[in-house]
Amino acid sequence: MKAVLTLALMTSLAASAQVTENQLEQPPGQDWLHYNGDYQSKRFSTLDQITTANVGSLVNKWTFHVPGQGGLESVPVVVNGVMYLTQPNAIYALDGRTGRQIWSYHHLLGKVKDREGPHRGAAVYKNRVYFTTTDDYLYALDAGSGNVVWQVKIGETDEGYSSPAAPLIAKGKVIVGISPGDRGLNGFLDAYDAETGRLLWRYYPIPKPGEPGSESWAGDSWQHAGGDTWLTGSYDPEQNLLIWGIGNPSPDFNGEVRAGDNLYTECVVALDLDTGKMKWYFQFTPHDTMDWDAVEIPILVDAPYKGQQRKLLVQADRNGFYYVLDRLTGEFLHSAQFERLQNWTDGIDEKGRPRRKAGMDPTLTGVKICPSSIGAANWQSPTYDPDTGWFYFVALEGCGMATMNTEKFRPGGYQYRAGGDVLLKDGTWEVSVRALELTTGKEMWKTVRVGSTNLGGGLVATKGGVIFSGESPGEFVALDPKTGRVLWHYNTGQEINAQPMTYMVGGRQFVAIESNSDVFGFALFEPEKPAK
């Protein structure tokens, strides 16, 4: 056996390997180890084989069809050329050069009704790959064979919980969120021991009576209060802080039954990785009545701010504003309105609290509120390019005619939204990719996703000077980060609702994106040599 091992180490071939903590702390290059590319969620790859100058010769090298699946939303991770790709309740290991399947694992649901999506990805650590299922299992699989190492139940599916987010792994802890999905269930964020699957801590964003923040909930409204953790957050290794966005309060549209700020919904919270204890929070939208989940991915950047080097957190929020915070304390530093149609507030005060206008909550007869409940931004991954110093994200200009009702909470996973909005997809409705200057939020350029009425997929930036962007109607596009000019495009022929990523194997840089039921791998054109 030893001889085989020696040979394996000598070989120039890619081989699955132990992913170390140190590797997890590096920016994405050859490997892509996190849903968001790195702990800081910058999604900036150090790869530079594909450049502004040569991206025009990018070609589709392979396509992998995910059987029986549509509307894929996950981001693959890649370790030494092996790609791990999830769909709801299944995971595939693929050869990253060819798209050929190595193994797959399909989780068997106890009940067919538990088959709901979406699912957004896997995480890797040592020689294991981790993912969750729609019926709330967290799996650890052997990365080489796909064998199950352990599985644990993380939520009660019958109550309405689901687990769509890709786990994040830091210092041997698997961090997983939950989606009560607008069903009046209180969210939580869990840490599990990567080795054994043992629950280490659970953080509840909704405080219980007597706990700090509980005064922000009228009566017993905290019992069915929401606060999802349905998207993967960020991690600051230096501060040992998880930095996570928290979802909407329940019921979504009827705020009358939950008077108060409804902490810690619509917040970004910083949690000690070791204990799960909250160190600070910042609330974007106190007492939200428009389902503006604040789960948009927070990007962690160290940069000068007003002459001082600061540890910053930036986020384009669903409520229509871009925020700059100090991530050591959660202190509000700056905001900028990016949603031009925004009509619910007279701006943000010096503490970061919106000056909410009277009468801008949903009513029984309807109020036109901008942004709509879809939000001015959403779960589409943003990116930060240190070479330009700009933040890039997918923005939506649009309004909704918002109504509320008196829907009551019902146990069993039923919706508890108490209203909704009719999306006003008129001439003002517009999806675009935008570049903002990091610390001021000043718009540097905007490129409209022509023909898009849905947000579509997110972004990845690269050292080669290319931003990749997946558009809802199926166009996969390369943009110039300096100008927003389209450099290349490819019609995948299917709807894109996923984030692109990039990796390198066998000396070639690949870019991959999921589109409806397929994964596409792209690389620069090279003439194929005929077989001998």
Partner: protein, 274 residues
């Protein structure tokens, strides 16, 4: 189409219970002696159509093998035998058979078709674990609940995935190599050698899992020679390597292996998807 079949079977179940009677209850038990008795009755009564041991008959479907949408619940099987299937050659046997014999046949059919974990298997499970880890050498290639080798299929759920017969066959007869488990030795043009199992292969690339759980992504253009084994790495002579009791204990242990705390893969008519 699945839902139509399921709907038909559901309707059939409703029909059975629509007589206003409580669902029939098995009065004979489910142990190995009942299976044996059921087999005897079956082979005296049903073989003209269904063949010996339900293998295949002249005028009716085989009752074993891999088919979807088998009737599996005891109630559905009992009702079918008792009342027949209208419009087919399956006649109502209820009037001509002792009720307990009908139930014995039901238990026999379920034992043939049900997953191994559904079947009452005699044997010492704890000793089976020892055989798995020791004399049988199984753990070198197979893992159960995360412990064991990776070169063979994960057996954590094998009791729910296989029938008992299939499980026994895989230990004592040469079976085709499962896809993704072909033994392979690849010699590359640079002189390196990789040994393991071919997880996948086409004319252009090859994906190998070596004996140290490492994946190798290989371009066919880099391959000097590849030798694909024609024999499975899985020994198929456990009836010779082990004593009769040891083999039975191993079978009993494997039959118990289910994921999710014994949640059944097959739990009723129309849901069978083996």
């Amino acid at each position: 189409m699945k839902w139509r079949v399921a709907a038909y079977l559901l309707a059939f179940e409703v029909l059975l219970t629509a007589k206003g009677q409580a669902p029939p209850k098995n009065p004979v038990g489910r142990g190995p002696e009942v299976v044996a008795a059921g087999r005897a009755v079956f082979n005296q009564t049903c073989t003209a159509c269904h063949g010996v041991d339900g293998g295949e008959g002249e005028r009716a479907p085989a009752l074993v093998g891999d088919r979807r949408f088998f009737r599996l619940s005891e109630g559905a099987l009992y009702g079918t035998i008792e009342d027949g299937i209208p419009g087919t050659a399956m006649v109502a046997m209820g009037k001509s058979m002792d009720d307990k014999d009908v139930w014995r046949i039901v238990v026999f059919i379920r034992a043939m078709r049900g997953s191994a974990s559904d079947t009452d298997v005699a044997g010492n499970v704890d000793h089976g674990k020892e055989i798995f880890a020791g004399k049988g050498g199984c753990v070198k290639c197979h893992a159960i609940q995360g412990k064991g080798g990776t070169i063979g299929p994960d057996l954590s759920n094998v009791g729910a995935q296989m029938t008992l017969n299939h499980l026994r066959d895989s230990l004592v007869t040469a079976t085709p190599i499962a896809p993704g488990y072909k033994p392979i030795t690849v010699v590359l043009k640079n002189g390196e050698t990789v040994k393991g199992i071919a997880k996948n292969e086409d004319a252009f690339s090859l994906q190998v899992l070596d004996y140290d759980d490492r994946l190798h992504l290989i371009d066919k253009a880099d391959v000097q020679r590849e030798d694909i084994g024609t024999q499975s790495l899985m020994p198929h002579d456990y009836d010779k390597q082990l004593t009769k009791d040891e083999l039975q204990d191993l079978l009993a242990m494997l039959a118990k292996q289910t994921r999710d705390g014994g949640r059944k893969r097959i739990d009723g008519d129309g849901e069978v998807g083996r």
